[in-house]
């Protein structure tokens, strides 16, 4: 137990970390439900196994670090990291993929840096980025939208089989994501011709749009409960819309429009659930605007110029790097000072010696 020494005002937040995280978990439910409805049992298996692995790994590391278990586990943060990574991974991912991702997220990105509140990077996105680099093949096989109970859907048993590695999903069970398909559009094909050719399994676009709207609903709940502020989501999505509009205006035949970029990938989910992580994001309001806009710009740059179809994880991690810089230059003016207290104050040693 360390003594708290903070300056006044010593008002305490009415909600504990555990409560905040419970609201975040609640807000992920519409998104998870929608993704499961369209992409099958794999989503639910991912979420549950990743959350379970998260809690187990956190308990393990806390044990190794001889820290009290109950206090830290009760803040539900490992659970949230697990859920966020679980919904980002392709449905029907094998168990070892999820485990490796959660080890990277909880053990490396979170606990090695000192646990909740000390991690400079978003744990779930560290796990995701590592998996994307290390296992590009399973990470880019997203499930086709066969639904939970449809005629082509995998049953719960079959999905568990894929999870345990007893079988691997047939080619018809997997399909590209809209962003992936558009990324690999041949240069000679115009965007309009590309979409007219129906490059994706039927219902894919609809599934992604519905999931994005469900995440938006969850995000609205977080905004309403004041768990997150509007600055990061708005500036991130705003920057994406701006750049996507400019690019489409410059060359509509080879660039997708802003709506596609917003709803076709992980943009909404990232804007409300990933970028707003209170630990690794910028702190001041102005800083949050810069931080979110930076993520939006990076997402669009990587999506349109890079080799990866989607880029929320990389963009968030890159902006996590920039957070100390942003915080340094956006520190607001505090009451009683005429100017913001920016910059590092170096104590002059010679002055001290002169005084003696």
């Amino acid at each position: 137990m360390s003594l708290m020494h903070a300056s006044s005002p010593q008002a305490r937040a009415a909600t504990s970390t555990g409560q905040v995280m419970r609201w975040v978990l609640l807000a992920t439910l519409p998104g998870i439900a929608t993704q499961a409805w369209f992409f099958g049992w794999g989503t639910l298996i991912n979420v549950l196994s990743a959350a379970g692995a998260g809690v187990a790994l956190e308990a393990l590391v806390l044990r190794l670090r001889s820290r009290p278990l109950g206090l830290t586990l009760r803040d539900n943060s490992a659970l949230v990291s697990g859920v966020l990574l679980g919904v980002s991974l392709p449905p029907f991912a094998p168990w070892w993929l999820i485990l490796v991702g959660m080890v990277a997220a909880i053990v490396v990105a979170k606990q090695l840096f000192g646990g909740l509140g000390h991690n400079p990077f978003n744990p779930a996105m560290v796990g995701y980025a590592l998996l994307l680099i290390a296992f590009p093949v399973p990470m880019t096989q997203w499930a086709a939208p066969h639904g939970l109970f449809g005629p082509d859907a995998s049953s719960l048993g079959e999905s568990l089989g894929y999870f345990l590695g007893l079988a691997s999903p047939a080619d018809a069970m997997t399909g590209a994501t809209p962003l992936d398909a558009f990324k690999h559009k041949p240069q000679a094909v115009l965007a309009s011709e590309f979409w007219a050719g129906e490059p994706l399994p039927p219902g894919t676009l609809n599934a992604w749009h519905s999931a994005a709207l469900a995440w938006l609903a969850g995000g609205a709940l977080l905004l309403f409960k004041r768990i997150i502020s509007w600055h990061i989501p708005l500036s991130m999505l705003g920057a994406m819309v701006l750049i996507a509009t400019l690019m489409m205006a410059s060359d509509p035949s080879h660039h997708a429009g802003p709506l596609f970029h917003l709803l076709g990938g992980a943009a909404i989910f990232g804007a409300f659930f990933i970028a707003t992580d209170p630990v690794s994001a910028a702190t001041s309001r102005k800083g949050k605007l810069y931080y979110g806009a930076g993520i939006g710009v990076l997402v669009m740059v990587i999506r349109s110029l890079g080799t990866y179809p989607d880029a929320v994880a990389f963009a968030v991690l890159l902006m996590n790097f920039a957070v100390p810089f942003i915080d340094y230059y956006t520190q607001p003016r505090t009451y009683g000072h005429s100017r913001p207290n920016r910059g590092i104050k170096v104590k002059r040693i010679d002055d001290d010696e002169g005084a003696q």
């Binding site: 137990m1 490396v108 590592l130």
Partner: protein
């Protein structure tokens, strides 16, 4: 004799160029994807380190302080060229694999650091020992890192050793996990990660040794003093 023990301990452990001084990280991270690459670059660096330390120690009274760095770099570059030619002659395929990182040994600050900090101020024998031990320490870390990355990255150990040691090493490869690949460790980020773990492991070992030393000196563990505690500790 104690000076040589000290130099040995410094080079191999307590002042290890890779684990403690954190010098020469560029080759350390770039070429340690397999044991054979690591060993090849480690041996080349070792050769250059010993040669440069010996030469600089011999001419240390004849080089003016103001121009010492260019002179030292020239000497190091000469030895790197030698190492490069030797590799070209006897391990050409390995030479091709290591590529730019062999000429880049010139810029390895671990070498210039030892030359400037030690060899330029000490007689021949200590300087040679220092070069040897620092080089061995560096090469050892390289090989360990290469082994970790090769084992967990592609599931083998000692693959392609014939590139360096000739035909007798052709069947040394040990396949621990067949049909296995963890690309992350093969790529440079994995090298950062593995090197970080190695440094952490070294610090843990040092910590344990220090604690044991203190316990044996004072006869009681460090934290066994009774302190008054009020309230509950959760």
């Amino acid at each position: 004799m104690s000076q040589f023990n000290e130099l040995t301990k410094n080079g191999l452990w307590s002042n290890n160029p890779a684990l403690v001084q954190l010098l020469g990280l560029c080759p350390l991270l770039a070429v340690t994807s397999t044991v054979v690459n690591a060993l090849g670059l480690g041996l080349a660096t070792l050769l250059v380190m010993v040669g440069a330390n010996v030469s600089v120690s011999l001419i240390r009274h004849h080089v003016p302080d103001t121009v010492r760095l260019p002179v030292f770099v020239m000497i190091i570059a000469a030895f790197v060229t030698c190492a490069e030619l030797v590799m070209q002659a006897y391990a050409f395929r390995l030479y091709q694999i290591l590529g730019i990182f062999i000429p880049l040994i010139v810029t390895n600050c671990a070498i210039l650091g030892r030359v400037d900090a030690f060899a330029a101020k000490n007689p021949l024998l200590p300087a040679a020992t220092d070069g040897l031990m620092m080089g061995l320490g560096f090469a050892a870390v390289l090989v360990v890192l290469g082994a970790i990355r090769e084992l967990f990255g592609q599931g083998t150990l000692l693959a392609d050793m014939e590139l360096l040691l000739g035909p007798i090493a052709a069947d040394w490869q040990i396949t621990l996990f067949a049909d296995y690949s963890f690309l992350f460790l093969v790529l440079p980020p994995g090298a950062f990660f593995a090197a970080g773990l190695l440094i952490a492991a070294k610090n843990v070992i040092d910590d344990r040794l220090e604690r044991r030393r203190r316990t044996s000196q004072t006869g009681q563990p460090q934290h066994s003093r009774r302190v008054r505690v009020t309230g509950t500790i959760r």
